[in-house]
């Protein structure tokens, strides 16, 4: 048996889905968090029936009228999946709009059960809905629930089971619509709206009208203010990073690393002196050490995700989109482009997928190729590590990487707009403003644990393998002899990474160890820290004796041989070069064109190189009064890149890349 959850965006479909299936899918207090359908079976505790019940969560839609393309996904799904029952989640605080979609669902002939969600919120706002009357009007059962607080879920499931096999009658019928013109459909839809208005007038009793300026609007005026909006956003992001990195995260990381250290000594003790030293190093330094270095940063990532989830739940993110719309319009992006980027702060892959809500092809593709420039969770360990080693744990490093990301994205969008041809796009901005609310700690904790789980799975599979491979490659020479002390440059790893290191000299980190770490970063960005730990034989970066994130910072800085300028350049290089392979795969899927994909990768490589070069050379010039290593060669390379990009930007537009988008 299959039940489908359908309803308006931000009506709480995914919250209900999580509540009745026990899953932890991403939720957020804004419209359009869910972009693809998800399936899971009904939780055992709710399923008192002998059959397997599958629940399908659908992306939100306002309408199923045939002329709206983005809504056709929902329509298609409902038609194809043929669910036994549709659960229509209706926002009780917004009947007037929600029921429009409801009447369309009812016409499909599949039994519909209405879940009147946010009923607790409605009560708080002195809004009364006559459920029985509503059920009578629409010919389908109505159940008041609160998905967020888990109220009324059993009753909902019971009504759903009862509804199976029932014949769904529709009180409003528009008749056959295929083959009639758009204007005619519009007429019918207007009639449908009047019908909905009539129902709402009968069943809803509102004591407080919601259409005058209220306290929320006053808050908006401050938070989305023309001048204050950006500084407030910056302050919030800085707080998020400094709490996760300097305070709570560090404290937790210290505890965790203490355990890893003990585990290391236990394993070392167990092996004793009888195990071959090569095997011992592989296990201790390669696997436990490399992994420990990565896992040590887990608490930071968890705290970051916890805070970001709180922020997303509060409703603030929709206001960020409001603020950013102005800036993104200048560079030919849509204000909606900020949503994929915010999502991308967690992980670039769902961020890239979130670009689907952007209609214009060029804007969507540009956003998809620039989203990986946001510092994702996997890039956080290396950022935190370098902030600790080279900048005395300054939380401004992470926050400034975040804003450097946004700045580079805006600059890149400008360049890409020029390259692809500056065609006028009528991109209107419209975004539903969800109400502010006290974020749910429980949900933030769930999101955090979900991320932690994913991180641990990744660490114990792909990162573990990579670290082991790096350890082996750095232990042996091509003749399969063990590399002797002081002769590390003869290892397999060194000889593979050395040619790349040559290219990186003008960026200030042209040693094979750092080149190797940058390369393994393409497999997964967490690898950067793991590889650094292995190649520099540092068992773990986080020192439990000092209450600082990175202990012995001076030593580590000395081993790596980086200045603060080259360290910052290395961070920028990691941030602005192409993302991990998984994210490139997502880019491939969303860009839908090889030309765009290779263009995007080339552009990202070029951007990473140029930004790192500028940071290193300018930083070195400021610090020492002279330019850094390989300045001339780097200048030639960067000059060539800039010239190529400039040529592409200002060449005669003969064949516009962007051509398919047509209106209507």
């Amino acid at each position: 048996m299959k039940i489908a959850l359908a309803g308006n965006p931000n009506s709480g479909k995914t919250t209900l889905f999580n509540a009745i299936t026990g899953k932890i899918e991403k939720v957020g207090n804004w419209a359009g968090v869910t972009i693809a359908k998800k399936e899971a079976s009904l939780k055992k505790s709710l399923n008192r029936y002998s059959q397997e019940i599958t629940v399908v969560d659908l992306p939100g839609a306002y309408s199923m009228s045939p002329y709206t393309s983005e809504e056709s996904i929902t329509r298609e799904f409902v038609a194809n999946a043929n669910p036994d029952v549709i659960v229509n989640i209706v926002d009780a605080t917004n009947l007037g709009r929600s029921l429009f979609f409801t009447t369309q669902l009812i016409e499909l002939g599949i039994p519909v059960v209405i879940a009147l969600n946010k009923s607790d919120l409605a009560k708080k706002r002195k809004l009364r809905i006559d459920q029985e009357l509503l059920a009578g009007e629409l010919n389908c059962p109505v159940v008041a629930i609160s998905a967020q607080n888990g109220l009324g879920l059993e009753g909902l499931v019971d009504r759903v089971i009862q509804a199976v096999g029932a014949k769904q009658l529709s009180a409003f019928s528009q008749g056959e619509i295929s083959g009639i013109g758009e204007a005619k459909i519009r007429d019918l839809d207007e009639k449908r709206y009047r019908y909905v208005d009539e129902i709402v007038a009968k069943v809803e009793l509102r004591d407080i009208k919601g259409d005058t300026t209220n306290i929320q609007d006053r808050l908006d005026r401050i938070l989305a203010n023309k001048w204050l909006g950006i500084p407030i956003f910056a302050l919030i992001i800085w707080l998020v990073f400094s709490i996760s990195q300097t305070y709570v995260g560090t404290y937790l990381a210290d505890i965790l690393v203490g355990w890893i250290d003990r585990f290391y000594s236990v394993v070392a003790g167990l092996m004793g002196a009888n195990v071959s030293p090569i095997l011992a190093t592989l296990l201790l330094d390669g696997i436990i050490g490399g992994l420990g270095a990565v896992v040590g940063f887990l608490p930071l990532i968890m705290v970051l995700f916890f805070l970001l989830a709180l922020l997303e739940d509060s409703g603030y993110m929709a206001r960020v989109a409001m603020i950013m719309d102005r800036f993104f319009k200048w560079v030919g992006l849509s204000g909606k482009s900020i949503i994929p980027m915010i999502v991308g702060t967690g992980c670039a892959i769902p961020g890239i997928m979130a670009t689907r809500t952007i209609q214009d092809d060029r804007q969507r593709r540009t956003t998809a190729m620039l989203t990986p420039f946001m510092p994702c969770g996997a890039k956080l360990p290396v950022i935190a590590l370098f902030a600790g080693v080279f900048f005395e744990d300054a939380s401004w490093v992470s926050a400034s990487m975040y804003f450097l990301g946004i700045t580079i994205i805006i600059l890149s969008a400008l360049i890409i707009r020029k390259i692809t041809g500056d065609e006028k796009v009528n991109d209107y901005f419209i975004m539903e403003l969800p109400e502010y609310r006290i974020p749910s700690v429980k949900r933030a904790a769930q999101s955090m644990l979900n991320q932690a789980k994913a991180f641990i799975v990744k660490a114990s599979t792909i990162i573990l393998l990579c670290n082991a491979a790096i350890q082996v490659m750095s232990t042996f020479t091509w003749q399969l002899e063990v590399v002797s002390q002081g002769n590390e440059a003869s290892s397999i790893l060194a000889s593979v990474a050395a040619p790349f290191a040559l290219i990186l000299i003008p960026l200030g980190f042209g040693v094979w160890q750092l080149a190797a770490a940058a390369i393994t970063g393409f497999i997964a960005k967490e690898n950067v820290v793991g590889t650094l730990a292995v190649v520099f034989s540092i068992t773990n970066f986080i020192n439990v004796d000092e209450l600082a994130l990175v202990g012995g910072a001076g030593n580590i800085a000395g081993v790596m041989g980086l200045t603060s300028a080259s360290a910052l350049a290395y961070l920028a290089f990691n941030l602005f070069t192409p993302p991990c392979f998984a994210a490139i795969g997502a880019m491939n899927a969303e860009l839908g064109s090889k030309k765009w994909l290779f263009g995007a990768i080339a552009f990202q490589l070029a951007m990473g190189y140029v930004v790192a070069f500028v940071i290193y050379q300018a930083g070195t010039l400021l610090q020492t009064g002279s330019t850094g290593q390989g300045f001339l060669w780097g200048l030639v390379a960067v000059g060539a890149i800039v010239a190529t990009i400039a040529y592409l930007m200002f060449k005669r537009p003969n064949e516009p890349i962007r051509s398919k988008f047509q209106q209507g």
Partner: protein, 103 residues
Amino acid sequence: MENSFKFTGLFKRRRRHHCNHGRKNNCGHGRGNSLIHAELNQEYTIKKIRADNDKIGNFLFSLGCFPGSKVTVVSKIANQYVIVIKNARYSIDKELAWCIVVD
């Protein structure tokens, strides 16, 4: 698409609605009070949607924003207009506010 080289500047701002609508009416946009000139917290009846893009018109329709329905502007923040349609709040940009013609 233009085929000649033209340097338009990097920060070219699209000025689609560069005129003072309603005041001098030499822009071809026609007179009509759009939401741009709407007073805060006053309910208006929508007269027409003049979008040059069917998609947005259809989208507005699905939100209940079409000729004959009611709309209220509750805030103007920078280039954004916060409007209420059927008890739901939306943030729209000035271009879209211009598209919504009211009585």
